[in-house]
Structures are given as structure tokens and as C-alpha cells.
């Protein structure tokens, strides 16, 4: 394992990959700080570009964008009471009061340190557990894969913003959209209505760009601009000794919570940060301090957030099952590069796997450096009005979609999904389950087909096989546990709406 990791560092420390890491982490920081554009939109927008890049570098960059955005969302939460990323909503509760009391510096510093600590532990978790998981999953057959994929889709629907009654049909719609095109087994054209463009199905990038990119632009323009008021200047950056003493235990607790919750399909950084906040508040000696500027309310959730964003990669890298919408997009990106994520990834493509793991640690180090000293610059970038940003986003989206197949029909489809996406935003239906259903649909159907073939049409096969039955129980527990507690984590209706409007994971 040590030799694998050192090989990974060899891969990650080439000039080219270091550059990709820096670009990704930097871009992610930018995107995490700026409201109005999130990591999923960015990844969807840049996907067409990555097809021309080497696979390892492309993935390093996309991964950097993802965890970079989660790292930096707390900056605006603290300074402006505005979460740059939905996962940073919790940081507003105690981070902003700290800034208002003139303690912005320590808050930002503790947030950055917590993130770095959590990132290191997260990378360690991947290093230790991913190969183990890959070995276990070699015992997986079609029934196990089918159940796992179903679990991923259902869990994402359960933990998405908005009610389950709206998220479930989104997931089903995604699965249905995945059936469009030529059925591989029979050659039947499904839902193509004679239109040749649809013969190969609708590329997930088109739908992602429409639902996440274009719809978000319309929604942001509709909302109009808000007042951007910065809470005080950032003077003393260093936290005091009592700060550090109060923070180290929440950091560890948050990291542990985030590492575990991030692996489970459907959860991820959002739930982790809320869970950590609730935990810290519950075990604090003086819970009344929370909401007024308790540093535990920053250290814990920030660690949970970042740890989860790293371990979020594990199911996708080891099993080929994306744990959320962002991972689904990256799964798609890898597939197009000719790499099939799954148990074989660790052994077939050790360069990619260990290189990415090593670069995650390097990326976290870069972020520690980027976030603190350059805070002044990042804050000033917030002043860039949205009206400069969104035309650029639109242009990249259009050209990117066109470049998929040099087909303008794809761009028109994206426009259609943009309109649909806006309807979904207005109805408070989260698009994340749809993307998951879309990406996993074909594989789910294939595994289901094989399962039924092997079992002779007997659906009980899912319960008679031990691993499959265990996964089913886990799915039921996950959803059963989550539904009532999500009502608690959901926070105020305003927070829920903010999360639905921003791009949920």
C-alpha cells in the first residue's frame, strides 16, 4: 500500500498533473466563493474540454474543482452570511456572527485548518479502505450491482432538497430518459420517434448543462441582485489559544462523521455538515452559545463537509457507483475516456487511482495556501457582477455541447432541457436524482436483465443472496432513518428554498 501511494505521488508530482491540480483547486475555490455558479455546473460545462485531455489529468482537475468548491464555500458564509455552496449554509450560523464581532480572521483560519485536517484524514481513509472495498466488491454479481445502483438512486432522492414525493419521480424520470435510444440487446429504437439524433440516446452532458447550467442562469436572473455587504475587514488572522483548544475536538468529531457519511450513496457533504452542527450543539456545555459565534459551530461542520467531499469519491472509484450528481458526471467523463470505474479500476489503472488519491492530498495542501493569504483577492472577486459571468457560462455551455458530436441538434436539446429545468426549479424539484437516474439507468437495466436471466425470472433472488439482501436492508434503513431526521436537518423553509435554488449535490 505504501508503494502504491508513493507511485501515486510520482504520478501526481509531474508538472502537468500539478498544474491540473492547481487549476482545478483554484477554479473550485473561485466557483465555491461565487454564488450563482456551483461545482456541478462547472464540471458539466468543462466536461467536453476534458475529452481532449489525458484521463489522469482531466480527473485530477475535475476532482480539484469539486473539493475546492466545498473548501471555500465557507469564506462567503463567514464574511457575507451568504453560502457560496449549499453545504456551507451551516457555517453561516456561527461563522457570520464571529465576523460581525470582529473575529472574521480566526473564523476563516479555523475553517481552513479544519478543512485541511479533514482532507488529510479523508485521503487516508481512501488509501486504506478503497482497495479493501474493491476486493469485497469482486464478489458482487448482477443482483448486487442492481441493488447498489438502486440504493444510490433512492438515497440521492431521499437526501435531495425538497420532498421525497418530488425527488422520487425525478429519479424515475432520469431512469426513463436513460432508456432513450437504441436498446443494446434487441436493437429496438426506444423513444426516438424517428429522429436520428436520438438513436444513441441523449448525452448526459446535454441534460446536465440544460438542467444545471441554463436553468440556473434563468433562475439567477429572475432573482435579481442582492446587496453584498462585507462584514468588517480581516485583520488578525490567527486564532487564539482558547480558540484552538475549543476547536480540536469538534474537528476530529466532524472529520469522523463526514468520512462515514460521505461514503454512503446519496448523502455527502450537505448532510454531514448539518449533522456535525447538530452534534456539536447537542454535546456542548453551553448550547446557548451556538448562533452567537461559537467556534465549534465552524470547526465541526467544516471538517465534516470536507471529509465527506473526499470520501464521496470512494463508491464511484471502487464500485463504479456514483454517490451523487457530481460523481455521476465524473463517472460519465471517465467512461468516455474509455475507463470503466469499478472494482477493476484499482488494479487495471493504478496510475489513475493512486495518482488521483495523491493529488487530492496535494490539492488540500494547495487549498490551505490559497484560501488564507489570498482571501482579500477572493473577496474582491465577489464584486464581479453576475452580468459578466453568465454570458460566459452560456457561451461555454453552447460550444461545449456542440463539440460533443459536432451536432447542433444537441444544443437545441440542451435549450429544451433548460426550459424544463426552470420548471423544475419553480416547482422545487431537485435535478440531482434525475442525473443519477440518467447515468445509472442503462447499467441498472442491464444488471436487472442479467439477474432475471440467471434466476429464471425469480425476483426473490435479491433476498436469497446474502450480500444483496444485506444491501437491501441497508437501503431500507437508510431511507427509513433519513425521512424523519431530514425534516430536522432541513432547517427553516428559507434555508430549504436556498438549497433548492442553489445546486444541491
Amino acid at each position: 500500500m505504501v508503494s502504491s501511494l508513493s507511485h501515486g505521488f510520482e504520478v501526481a508530482l509531474t508538472w502537468q498533473n500539478l498544474l491540473f491540480c492547481l487549476v482545478g483547486a483554484g477554479f473550485g475555490t473561485l466557483v465555491g466563493i461565487m454564488p450563482g455558479i456551483g461545482p456541478i455546473t462547472t464540471i458539466a460545462m468543462l466536461l467536453p474540454l476534458t475529452f481532449k485531455m489525458p484521463a489522469v489529468g482531466a480527473f485530477i482537475m475535475l476532482a480539484g474543482i469539486y473539493y475546492g468548491a466545498h473548501h471555500s464555500g465557507s469564506t462567503t458564509a463567514i464574511m457575507l452570511n451568504m453560502p457560496g455552496e449549499p453545504t456551507s449554509v451551516v457555517i453561516c450560523f456561527d461563522g457570520h456572527p464571529m465576523a460581525r464581532n470582529g473575529r472574521a480572521g480566526p473564523a476563516l483560519c479555523i475553517a481552513a485548518l479544519s478543512s485541511f485536517f479533514a482532507g488529510c484524514v479523508g485521503v487516508l481513509v481512501i488509501t486504506l479502505f478503497a482497495p479493501m472495498l474493491a476486493d469485497i466488491s469482486l464478489k458482487f454479481g448482477p443482483p448486487e450491482y442492481a441493488v447498489m445502483m438502486l440504493m444510490a438512486v433512492l438515497a440521492t432522492a431521499t437526501f435531495s432538497a425538497g420532498s421525497l414525493l418530488k425527488s422520487l419521480p425525478m429519479a424515475v424520470l432520469g431512469l426513463l430518459l436513460g432508456t432513450i435510444g437504441t436498446d443494446v440487446n434487441s436493437g429496438t429504437m426506444r423513444y426516438t420517434f424517428g429522429w436520428v439524433t436520438l438513436a444513441d440516446g441523449i448525452d448526459f452532458v446535454i441534460i446536465a448543462v440544460g438542467l444545471f447550467g441554463l436553468a440556473e442562469i434563468v433562475h439567477n436572473l429572475a432573482k435579481g441582485k442582492g446587496e453584498v455587504r462585507i462584514a468588517g475587514k480581516v485583520t488578525g488572522l490567527f486564532p487564539t489559544l482558547p480558540d484552538l483548544r475549543a476547536s480540536w475536538k469538534p474537528m476530529i468529531r466532524g472529520t469522523a462523521l463526514g468520512s462515514v457519511l460521505g461514503v454512503l450513496p446519496g448523502t455527502g457533504p450537505l448532510i454531514s455538515s448539518f449533522a456535525s452542527y447538530n452534534l456539536e450543539k447537542k454535546i456542548a456545555k453551553e448550547p446557548a452559545r451556538f448562533g452567537q459565534g461559537a467556534i465549534e459551530g465552524v470547526a465541526g461542520p467544516e471538517s465534516a463537509n470536507n471529509a465527506a467531499s473526499i470520501t464521496h469519491f470512494i463508491p464511484m472509484l471502487t464500485l463504479g457507483i456514483p454517490a451523487g450528481a457530481a460523481m455521476a458526471l465524473m463517472l460519465g467523463a471517465l467512461t468516455i475516456q474509455g475507463i470503466t470505474p469499478g472494482p477493476a479500476l484499482v488494479s487495471d489503472h493504478p496510475d489513475l487511482f493512486w495518482g488521483v488519491v495523491a493529488s487530492m492530498w496535494l490539492g488540500n495542501l494547495m487549498l490551505l495556501v490559497l484560501n488564507l493569504p489570498l482571501i482579500g483577492i477572493w473577496i474582491r472577486l465577489l464584486a464581479i457582477p453576475y452580468r459578466f459571468l453568465f454570458p460566459a457560462i452560456m457561451t461555454f455551455c453552447c460550444i461545449g455541447v456542440y463539440s460533443l458530436r459536432n451536432n447542433v441538434d444537441d444544443v437545441m436539446l440542451a435549450a429544451g432541457f433548460g426550459v424544463l429545468g426552470y420548471v423544475f426549479v419553480k416547482c422545487e424539484c431537485s435535478p440531482a436524482p434525475l442525473i443519477l437516474g440518467l447515468v445509472l439507468g442503462p447499467m441498472l437495466e442491464e444488471n436487472l436483465r442479467r439477474t432475471l436471466l440467471i434466476s429464471g425470472g425469480d425476483p426473490l433472488v435479491f433476498v436469497t443472496r446474502p450480500i444483496s439482501a444485506g444491501l437491501l436492508v441497508l437501503t431500507v434503513l437508510l431511507i427509513g432513518f433519513a425521512v424523519p431526521s431530514f425534516l430536522r436537518f432541513g432547517g427553516s423553509r428559507k434555508a430549504q428554498q436556498r438549497r433548492t435554488a442553489a445546486v444541491p449535490d
Binding site: 414525493l165 426513463l176 453552447c398 460550444i399 425470472g457
Partner: protein, 153 residues
Amino acid sequence: MSSIIRDSKSVVCGALFAAIGAGAFIAALSYPFGSAQRMGPGFFPMMLSGLLALLGILNILRGMSVKTVGRVRFGRIAWRPLVWITIGVLGFAVVLPRLGLLVSVAFLIGCASLAQERFRVVEMLCIALALVLLSTVLFVYGLDLPLAELLPH
């Protein structure tokens, strides 16, 4: 009518889901269903579309349910950004093969500016110029889009 509908958002998305589900189900009837052991191409789509239609109806029912507290309105539809962004992207698709990348990006930015409440012409011209240059560099040299695509034929 408005007193029956308590939660407009649920009713609207429910109707959408039900409509798509029903349509997809009817279309899937023409694909071979197969048997339990050998799933045909129609198996999965029929199950999914049926489920979708059912969930859509449930949403409509919930939207009309007496138990819903208060009234949830659909809210104002932002027609201006919606229409202009859509026209922009569709127009891009129509213009690109006929008049090349430069004109289509310019058209896109034009529509983008119309999507806003207020815009300054000089600003938008600068943005258009910058984006045209940037996309040329990025996509023609980066992605090897054929150079002939740049200019009108």
C-alpha cells in the same frame, strides 16, 4: 378552482410527471415486453413510465389535499430571462452551421443582454468581443474545431 388547488407547485409538477409517464407508457406498449426471465426492451420503460405517472398523480392529489397547511403559490414566472436565454441557445444552434462561430457567439451575447433588466451596450460589446476571442482560442486551438467554422460560409 383556486380553492381546490392548495399547493400549485405540487400540482404543476405532478401534472408534468403524469403526462410524461402516461405518454411514455403508451409509447412503450409498442415495444416487445418479453417475459419475467427475458426482459424485453419494453419491460423497463413500461415499469418506469407507469411508476412516473403514479407518482405524478400522487403529487397532484397532495397538491389538492385538505391537509396542506396554507397556500403555496407557483410564483412569478420570469418570462424575460427564460425566453431570451432559450432563444439565444436555439439561435446559436441555428446560426452556427450557417454563419460560423463568431456570428453565433455574438448572437448569443445579444440575447443574453436582452435577458437582463437593464444593460449597457458598450459593456455587452466588450463582453462579446472578449468571449469571441476566448472561444476562438479555447475551442479552435484547444479542441481543434475546424477553422472554416469560424466565419460565414
